[in-house]
C-alpha cells in the first residue's frame, strides 16, 4: 500500500470566477504539516476552503493517495478524510458543549451508524492503512479534557468565553477521527498555554501519521513543517489563467436576452 499523501497539482483557487491565489504545487505526505503563511487577503482562507471542498478549484487538481474514508473505501474527495476548522465554530450556542460535540462525533463518524458499527469500521480502516492508525475517536468529555476544558460538558456553548469557545470547537478534531486536519487560524483567541497545548495536539496527530494543513500568523511550534507562502497580489492584475475579463457588450446582450 502506498504511503498516504496529498498532491496539489497546479491548483488555482479563487472566489467566483476571479482567481485569488495559485497555482500551487505541493506534496504533503503522512506525518507532515503544511503551514500556509501570507499577509491578510492573500488567499490563505480561500486555499483552505477550496481544499475542504467548499469552493470549486478554478484550475488544477487535488489528488489523494492511500487515504481511506470513514467507510474504509479509498477517499475521492479531500473533504471525506479531512476536518475543516474555519473562522466560525460550527457549534450551537443554545445547547451544551457536550451535546454539540457528541452530535459532531455521531454525524462525522459515519451518520446513522451506531457506535459499535463505527468502531468496527475504525478497526477495519486501521488495518487497511497502517500508516494512519491514529488515535481512535474520543468521547466528548475526554476530548474536552484534552483541550484543557475538563468538566464543562453540560454548560451551554454560548456561555463560554471566546478562547474557551475556540478550544471547545477544536475538540471536534478529536471526537471523530480524520487523517487530515485543515486548520484556518486555529489559535486565534487562544492564550499562550493553550497554543502550546494545541501545538502538542497537532504534533501528536502528526506523530500518529496524520496530516495537518494550517494557515496561521502564530508559529504553531511545528518544527520541520513545510511552508507555503502566498504573496500579496495586486487585485487589479489578472493572474495566469484568470477568466475575469470584464463583461463585454455581447455578454450583456445575451444576459438580457435570457431574462
Amino acid at each position: 500500500m502506498n504511503p498516504a499523501k496529498i498532491v496539489l497539482q497546479g491548483l488555482v483557487v479563487g472566489r467566483g470566477a476571479a482567481a485569488v491565489a495559485g497555482p500551487f504545487d505541493a506534496v504533503i505526505a503522512a506525518g507532515e504539516a503544511l503551514v500556509v503563511t501570507g499577509p491578510n487577503g492573500a488567499g490563505k482562507s480561500t486555499l483552505l476552503r477550496t481544499l475542504a471542498g467548499l469552493l470549486p478549484p478554478l484550475a488544477g487538481a487535488i489528488r489523494l493517495e492511500g487515504l481511506a474514508g470513514v467507510d474504509g473505501e479509498p477517499a475521492e474527495r479531500l473533504a471525506d478524510v479531512a476536518h475543516y476548522v474555519g473562522h466560525r465554530h460550527g457549534m450551537k450556542s443554545q445547547i451544551s458543549v457536550g451535546d454539540n460535540l457528541s452530535f459532531w462525533g455521531r454525524y462525522l463518524g459515519g451518520a446513522a451508524t451506531g457506535r459499535s458499527e463505527r468502531s468496527r469500521q475504525n478497526a477495519e480502516r486501521d488495518r487497511n492503512t497502517p500508516a494512519l492508525s491514529g488515535s481512535a475517536a474520543l468521547s466528548p468529555s475526554e476530548a474536552l479534557a484534552a483541550v484543557g476544558l475538563p468538566g464543562i460538558d453540560s454548560i451551554p456553548f454560548g456561555y463560554l468565553s471566546a478562547g474557551q469557545q475556540r478550544r471547545a470547537s477544536l475538540a471536534r478534531l478529536i471526537v471523530a477521527h480524520r487523517p487530515v486536519w485543515i486548520l484556518d487560524e486555529p489559535t486565534s483567541a487562544l492564550d499562550t498555554a493553550s497554543q502550546t497545548r494545541f501545538a502538542d495536539l497537532v504534533a501528536g496527530h502528526l506523530g500518529s501519521g496524520g496530516i495537518a494543513i494550517a494557515a496561521t500568523h502564530h508559529p504553531l511550534g511545528l518544527e520541520g513543517a513545510k511552508t507555503l507562502h502566498i504573496d500579496a497580489r495586486d487585485p487589479r492584475s489578472a493572474g495566469p489563467g484568470t477568466p475575469d475579463a470584464p463583461l463585454d457588450e455581447a455578454d450583456l446582450a445575451s444576459a438580457e436576452g435570457w431574462l
Binding site: R15, R49, A52, G53, L54, L55, G69, V70, A79, D80, A82, Y84, G86, H87, R88, H89, G90, M91, K92, S93, Q94, I95, D99, F103, W104, R106, Y107, L108, G110, A111, A112
Partner: protein, 219 residues
C-alpha cells in the same frame, strides 16, 4: 442523518429556537378572524377552511427563513457541506425536523381552531388531513427559497416572495379537497390525491434543488 434530525429537534425546542412562533402566529390569525368577519356563522363556516389553510401557509413561511441561516451564521453549514452526508439528505433531514417541530403542531391545533370558525365535524377532519399531507410540500418548496436566500442578511421577505407562487397549487388543492368533504356532490379524493402527489413531487425535488443552491452559494 438521524443525528442531524435529533439535533435540529432539540434546537427547535431549546431557547430561541422559534418552533412555537409559527403556532402562536397561526393562533393569532385564526382567533382574530371571527372578530373581524362578525358573528355570521354561515359565512365563517364557508370561508373557514380557506382561512385555516392561509394561516398555515403564512405561519410555515414565517419559520422558514431561519432554516439554513442560523447554520450558516455559526459555520455549521460549512461542515455539513463538507461532511459525509450528501446535501439532499442534509436538507431532507432538516426539513423533516422543521416540519415536525413547527408544522405538526399546526396540524394538531387546526381542529381546535376550526371550532372558532364554526366548521362542521367533517370539515374539521378534512382540514386536518389536508394540512397533514400538504404542509410537507410547503416546507420542501420553502427550503429551496431559504437555500437561495441563505447569504442575504434580511432574506425572510425574499423567501416568502420566491416561495408563494410555487405554494399556490398546494393551497388550491388543499382548500378544494376540504370543501369537497362537506359540499356534496364534489369528490374529495381527486384533489386530495393531487395534494399527495404535490407533496411527493416537491419532497423529491426540493431537497435536491436546495442542496445544489447551498453548495453553489458557498463563499
Amino acid at each position: 442523518m438521524i443525528a442531524l434530525f435529533l439535533r435540529d429537534m432539540r434546537l427547535a425546542f431549546a431557547g430561541g429556537g422559534g418552533a412555537t412562533t409559527g403556532v402562536i402566529f397561526f393562533l393569532a390569525v385564526i382567533a382574530t378572524i371571527p372578530f373581524g368577519v362578525g358573528p355570521d356563522l354561515n359565512l365563517l363556516s364557508r370561508i373557514g377552511p380557506a382561512i385555516l389553510w392561509i394561516g398555515a401557509l403564512l405561519s410555515t413561511l414565517l419559520t422558514l427563513d431561519r432554516l439554513f441561516q442560523a447554520d450558516r451564521d455559526d459555520g455549521t453549514l460549512d461542515l455539513l457541506i463538507a461532511g459525509p452526508l450528501p446535501m439532499p439528505l442534509v436538507v431532507l433531514s432538516k426539513c423533516l425536523a422543521l416540519w415536525t417541530a413547527s408544522s405538526l403542531p399546526l396540524v394538531l391545533a387546526s381542529p381546535v381552531l376550526g371550532l372558532f370558525l364554526a366548521l362542521q365535524p367533517a370539515a374539521l377532519l378534512a382540514v386536518m388531513a389536508t394540512l397533514f399531507v400538504g404542509t410537507p410540500a410547503i416546507v420542501c418548496i420553502g427550503a429551496v427559497g431559504a437555500a437561495v436566500a441563505v447569504a442575504l442578511p434580511r432574506g425572510g421577505l425574499l423567501v416568502s416572495v420566491l416561495v408563494l407562487p410555487l405554494a399556490i397549487p398546494v393551497l388550491i388543492f388543499g382548500v378544494s379537497a376540504t370543501y369537497a368533504a362537506v359540499n356534496e356532490p364534489d369528490p374529495f379524493w381527486p384533489p386530495f390525491m393531487i395534494l399527495c402527489a404535490l407533496t411527493l413531487f416537491f419532497g423529491a425535488l426540493g431537497p435536491v434543488a436546495a442542496g445544489a443552491a447551498l453548495r453553489g452559494g458557498g463563499d
